[in-house]
Symmetry: D2
Subunit: 393 residues, 4 copies
Amino acid sequence: MASVGILERLDAGEVVIGDGGFVFALEKRGYVKAGPWTPEAAAEHPEAAAQGVPEGGANVMQTFTFYASDDKLENRGNKGAQINEAACDLAREVANEGDAMVAGGVCQTPSYLSCKSETEVKGILKKQLDVFIKKNVDFLIAEYFEHVEEAVWAVEVLKETGKPVAASMCIGPDGDMHGVSPGECAVRLVKAGAQIVGVNCHFDPMTCVKTVKMMKEGVEKAGLKAHYMVQPLAYHTPDCNCQGFIDLPEFPFGLEPRILSRWDMHKYAREAFNAGIRFIGGCCGFEPYHIRAVAEELGPERGFLPAASEKHGNWGAGLEMHTKPWVRARARRDYWENLKPASGRPQCPSMSAPDGWGVTKGHTDLMQQKEATSQDQLKQLLKVLKQSKASMQ
Amino acid sequence: MASVGILERLDAGEVVIGDGGFVFALEKRGYVKAGPWTPEAAAEHPEAAAQGVPEGGANVMQTFTFYASDDKLENRGNKGAQINEAACDLAREVANEGDAMVAGGVCQTPSYLSCKSETEVKGILKKQLDVFIKKNVDFLIAEYFEHVEEAVWAVEVLKETGKPVAASMCIGPDGDMHGVSPGECAVRLVKAGAQIVGVNCHFDPMTCVKTVKMMKEGVEKAGLKAHYMVQPLAYHTPDCNCQGFIDLPEFPFGLEPRILSRWDMHKYAREAFNAGIRFIGGCCGFEPYHIRAVAEELGPERGFLPAASEKHGNWGAGLEMHTKPWVRARARRDYWENLKPASGRPQCPSMSAPDGWGVTKGHTDLMQQKEATSQDQLKQLLKVLKQSKASMQ
Amino acid sequence: MASVGILERLDAGEVVIGDGGFVFALEKRGYVKAGPWTPEAAAEHPEAAAQGVPEGGANVMQTFTFYASDDKLENRGNKGAQINEAACDLAREVANEGDAMVAGGVCQTPSYLSCKSETEVKGILKKQLDVFIKKNVDFLIAEYFEHVEEAVWAVEVLKETGKPVAASMCIGPDGDMHGVSPGECAVRLVKAGAQIVGVNCHFDPMTCVKTVKMMKEGVEKAGLKAHYMVQPLAYHTPDCNCQGFIDLPEFPFGLEPRILSRWDMHKYAREAFNAGIRFIGGCCGFEPYHIRAVAEELGPERGFLPAASEKHGNWGAGLEMHTKPWVRARARRDYWENLKPASGRPQCPSMSAPDGWGVTKGHTDLMQQKEATSQDQLKQLLKVLKQSKASMQ
Amino acid sequence: MASVGILERLDAGEVVIGDGGFVFALEKRGYVKAGPWTPEAAAEHPEAAAQGVPEGGANVMQTFTFYASDDKLENRGNKGAQINEAACDLAREVANEGDAMVAGGVCQTPSYLSCKSETEVKGILKKQLDVFIKKNVDFLIAEYFEHVEEAVWAVEVLKETGKPVAASMCIGPDGDMHGVSPGECAVRLVKAGAQIVGVNCHFDPMTCVKTVKMMKEGVEKAGLKAHYMVQPLAYHTPDCNCQGFIDLPEFPFGLEPRILSRWDMHKYAREAFNAGIRFIGGCCGFEPYHIRAVAEELGPERGFLPAASEKHGNWGAGLEMHTKPWVRARARRDYWENLKPASGRPQCPSMSAPDGWGVTKGHTDLMQQKEATSQDQLKQLLKVLKQSKASMQ
C-alpha cells in the first residue's frame, strides 16, 4: 500500500493529482471498444494498458475498472472477477513506479437504469468490492453516477469496508437526472459516509469546478465537512444540456476540435485550487500532457514539478531554441495565456445542439438489453430522431 | 531486415503505411522538448520511446532521428552517433514485432540554413548515414526539406549506399522556399536518384495530397518514373502560407482544435490512394488511431485490417451497444461522414493569420546560434513583430 | 386619430405589428448621431425621417422621441418641446398613409440614473407628455426602462392622461438592473395601471420572447390580466449578460454579423404568437424587410399580407425565375428554414465576452455629465478597462 | 448635365464615388423582386426608388436600369422603354440634388447566355442606349458582364454614342467564365474603346481590388492607358469560387452575417486608393453608411467630408457622449480598427461550400426560358443537386 493515505494527504492540505481518463486513451490506442467501453484490456493486454499512465505525474492510479460491474460485463460477454483482479494488479504495479495510491473504482450500473431493486444493485457493486478488498487497494471511489440515489447506495456499500470513500457524480450545475441540485447531492453523499465528494466526466473543467463549488456551498450550509474532488473532461462543452457530452452530436468520435490545450489546463487547475478543491484530476480526453500541465500550474503550491517537466519549458520556454525568430517570440506566458486558437475548420460551427430525449431511469427507452441494437431497432430510432428534430424547428 | 523490401512492395502495387509522427507524440508524453525537437529520448528512455508506435498498424518504422544531425544536436548539447545508434536499435525492435521495415531518416540541417557549403552539408548528412549502414536499415528517407537544393544533396549522399532512397519535402502547392514548383522539385529529386518522392509535415492531408499530385504531374511530364509518398500533419491548416503550420500562431502548443478526426483520415486515405500514392502515412499530430483509420479505409485494397481494428467497430458500429438509444443511432457511416464537428470554442476564430517574415535561407534573421535566445534578443523580436503586425493593417 | 384603438384591437385578438427601430436605421442614413442617439432629425429633416418607416407594413407609428426628455436633450444641446412636437406631426403624417396608430413614447431618464427624486423624474416625463396630449396621440408607451422603479413612475405619470398605456422594459430573463425578476416587474407595472406589458431592445428576439413569457407567467400567477408586447433587437445576442447588447464589444458599430435574416424573423414571429403575445414588433436593427417577414409569417392569422409582399415571393419563390438552375433550386421553404448561414469572417469568433462593470443606478461611474468625455477621463477609463480585463484571466 | 464630366474629374486625379447597390436595397424595402431583379420600380414608385440614394454622398447616380434590357424584361413581363426612361428621369432628379453625374447602365443579356448572335445581342443593347441618348446621360457604363466577349460587344455599341464609356465585369482573380484573365479582359476592353475599366458585384471589396490590380497590370504591360473603377459587394466572400456570391448557399436571402461594417469599408477605400483606382463605389449590399465610410476614409484626399458626416463622429467619436463609461471607452480609432466582430451565431460555420455546376454560356442548363421554373423542373433540379453533393464527398 501507499506510504501515506489519501485522507492524511488531504487533511494536511496537500494537492492530490488524479488521472481517470484511461478508457478514452486506450480506445484511441486500440485496446477498448467505444460503445461498450468495458475494460477487458486489463486482462487481455496488461502491458499496453499500463503504458502512458504515470507520465503526467498523477498521485492516484485508479483501477482500470470502469463499467466493470458483472451486469455490464455480462451484457457485453466478459467475466467480471478476472478483469477486476487484473486491473488491481496492474494499477498497483504502475502506482509503485511512483509511490502513488491505488483507488478501486465502481460506477453506475445497467441494473439501476433498468429499475432493479436496491438489494440487487448493491449486490452487483459488492461483487466488485470483494476483489478490491482482496487486492487491498488504498481507497475507494464511487464515480460516474447520474442519479444521487444510486450514488448513495454505492457509498453505503463501500463504507462497509472501512476504507476511505470518495463519491463523484457525472452531473453539472443543473444537478442529477431527477433534478436534485449539486448541493443537495453532496449533502446526501456526505451523510451516507463519503469523505470526499465531487464530480467527474460529462462536462468541461470550468463547468465541473462550478458544480463542485455548488456542492461545497451545500455541504457547508448544512454544517457538514468534506474534502472535494474534480475530474472533468478534457473537452470544451459549452453547449451541453444536463446529460453532458454524451448527447453532443460529436460524441464520441468527433470530439477532436474540443480538446483542451495545456494552457486551458493551467486555468482549470488554478480555478479548482482557488475553489478549495484539493483532489484535482481528469477524465475522458486527458492525455499525459494535460495532467502534467495541472501539476505544473500547481507546482508552487506542491513545492515540486512532475518528472515529465524536465523536458517541458515553463510556459513554452523551450521555443527560445526554435529555428525561426518569430516562433522564438512565442516563448512567453502572456502569448499562450491570451491566444484564442483557431479551429482550422471554417465550415464547422462552434457550438452544437445536443441530441437527447430528456428521458432517464425508469423510461422504457433506457431499458438495457444484452444484444446489440438490431437493424430494425436502428431504423425505428432514426425515425424517432428525425421526428424530434423536425419538431424543434 | 524485413522480408520484403519497400521497392518490391511498391512495384507490386501494395499500399505501404508509414508513421512519422513520433516527435509530437513523445513531446506530449514528456520525452521530447518542444523547440529543439531533438530525439535524445531514443538513448535516454528507449522503452518509453518504443511505446505506442506499432499500435496503429504501420508497415514502416522510421528511426527516431529527426533533427539528429551532428550540427543540430551539438547546438542543443547532445551527442549524435550514440543517439542515432540507439534510434536504429529501437526502430528494429519495434519493427520486428510486426515484420515492418526500418527506414533511416535524415532531414534538413542548420548548416544549410546558415549558408554552409555543399561539402560541409553533405559531410554532416554522411555521419548519420554511417550509423544507418552499420545498423543495416531497410531503406533511407531524406525528409522534411524546405529547399530542393539541400534535398538533392541529401539524395546524392544517400544514393551512395545502394539502399532504396525516398525523398520527401515539407512544401505545399507553392513549392519550395525559393519558389521552385512541386513538379520541378520532384523532377530534380528523381534525377538525383530518389525512387520515391513526396511530401511530409507542414500541411494538412488534403493540401499534401494536392502537392504530391503536382509532383506526379511534373515527373510524368518529364517522361520519368517514380513511386509517391505522403506523410501529412494530423492538423487542419487551411490558413497556412508557404512555410506551413510553423507560422500559424497556434504552433506548437495551441493546435488542439485542428486535430483531424478518424473520419477526416478516411477521406485523406481515399484521396491519396485515388491520386496514385501508395506510401501513405502521417507526421506531427498523428496518433495510433489516425494510422488505424488510414489502414481501415484501405482495408479492401490491402485485403486485411490492422490488429488494432479488433476493438474498433467499422464506422462507429460499436455504438450499437451504447446505453442511450440516441447514441446508438450514430452507429452508421453516413452520420460520421457528414458530421461537421463543433469546436466548443465560441470565442475563438476558425482561421488565423500566419506569422512569418517571408525570409528564408540566406537571410540574417535565420542564421542559427548555439545559445538559446537571450532576453535582449527576445525584446528586439517582439518589437519587430509588433511593427510587422501594425504595417499589415 | 386611428379609427380603431390599440386596446380594441388587442381585445379582439388581433395581431398588432410595431416598428420601433428608427434610431439605428436613421443613424445609418446620417440623420442620428450614435452615442447621444437623440432624435433631433424629427425637427431638422422631417422628410428624411419619414422615409422607409411604413414600408414593412407596421400598424403602430411610434413618435420619433427616443431619449427626447428635456434632461437628455439638454445634456446634448437640443430643445425638447420643439422636437417632441415635430415628432408627433411626423408620426401622424406617416401613420395616416396606412391607417396606423400613433404611439407617444417616453423612456428612461438620465435624472433617474443620477439618483434624482421621484418628483424630479416624474416632472421630466410629464413635460414630454404635455406635447403628446396636445398632439392627441392614440396611445402611450413607456419603453426602454432598465429599472422597474422608474418604469412604474412613468406608468403612473402616463396613466393620468386617460390614454391606453403600454410599458416595456429593456430587460432579459435575469430581470431588471437590481435583480427584480421579469414576472415581478410585470406585476408591478400592471398594478401601476399598464394595460400592455413587455420588453423591447437589448436582446435578440428569442430571448425577448422568453422574457415576456416569464412576465406573463408572473401576471397570471398574481391573478392579474394584461396584453403583451415584444419589440426585440434584430441582432443575435447569445453572449449578452443582464445589461444586453450595449455591453457587447461590437456595440454599436460592429453588429453587422449579428443581423437576423428574414427567416430568423419568421421563427421569431411564430414563437411570439405561440407565447400569446399580440403586439409584435421590432427595435434597433430592424429594417422594413424584417417587419415585412413578421407580417408574412402571421399572414394566415391576420388574414392579409403587407403591401410590400407584392414584390416578395413567399419563402423565396421569386427565385424560380433566377438565371441559374442551382439558384432556382433554392425557391423552397425547407431550404431557407434549415440554412445555417456562414459569416464569411473566418478570423472572427462567434461569441464575444461582454464588457461592463456590473454597476448600475447609484454608482458614481454612472453619474451623467453634460460635457462629452474629456481626453483625461478617456485615459482613466482605458486604464480601468485594462485592469478589469487582466483580472478576468 | 453635370458641370464637370467623369473623364475630366479622373484626368484631374479626383476621387469619384459611385453607388450601384440599389437593386438589393430596394428589394429589402419592397420595390424589387429577388430572382428576376428587374427595376420596374423606377416606373412604378419613382418617389420610393429615389429615397436613400444620395445620403451617403456619392458623385455618380447610375440609372436604375439593371437587367432592363428588353429580352430580360420581356422574360419577366415588363416594358423596356418606359422603364428605362423613367429611370433616367429619376437618376437626373436625384443627381441634381447634389451636382452628381448620371451614368446610363447596360448589363449582360439573357440573349448572350442563350447563344444568340453578336448582331442580336448588340441590337438588344442598342435599344436601351437610345433612351440614354434621348435623356442625355453624362456617361455610360457597361457593367456586370461575366464574359469578356459580350462586354466587348457592349463597349463597341456604347462607343458609337461618343459619350465616355466605362466597362466593368463581375469577375474575380480567376478571370471570366471562359478563363480569360483579368489582365487580358482589361486589355480587350480598352482596345474596344473603354476609357474606364474595372469590376463590380460578385466578390467582396478586397477581392475586387485585387482583380482590378491585375487588370491594371495587364493594361500597363500592353502599353495602354485607362482609368480604373471598382464597385464591389458589401459582403465578405472568402469562400467564393469563380462565379462569385450567387453560388454561395446564402444567396440572396441569408447574406446578413457577411455584411461589411463601416470599418471594413475604411480598409477597402484605402486599399482601392493605394492601388491607383479613382472611381470607387459599391454594389449589392451597400447602404448609405457604407458609401459614407468610403467618403470619410478618402476625406483627406478629397478635401471634404460628405454631408452625412455631420452626424457621424470620426471613428466612433460620438460615443464620447454615451451613458456608460465602458462604451465611452470605445470612442477611438484603434478600438474599431482592431475589433474582430462576433457573429452571434455559434451554430453556424464561418465559410460555406459554393453550389454551382461549373457550367456557363453554351451549356443547356443555362438556356433561359420565359416561364418560371415548373414544379417538375424543380424536382429534377433537386435530384441533380443531391447527386452533385453526394459525389463531392
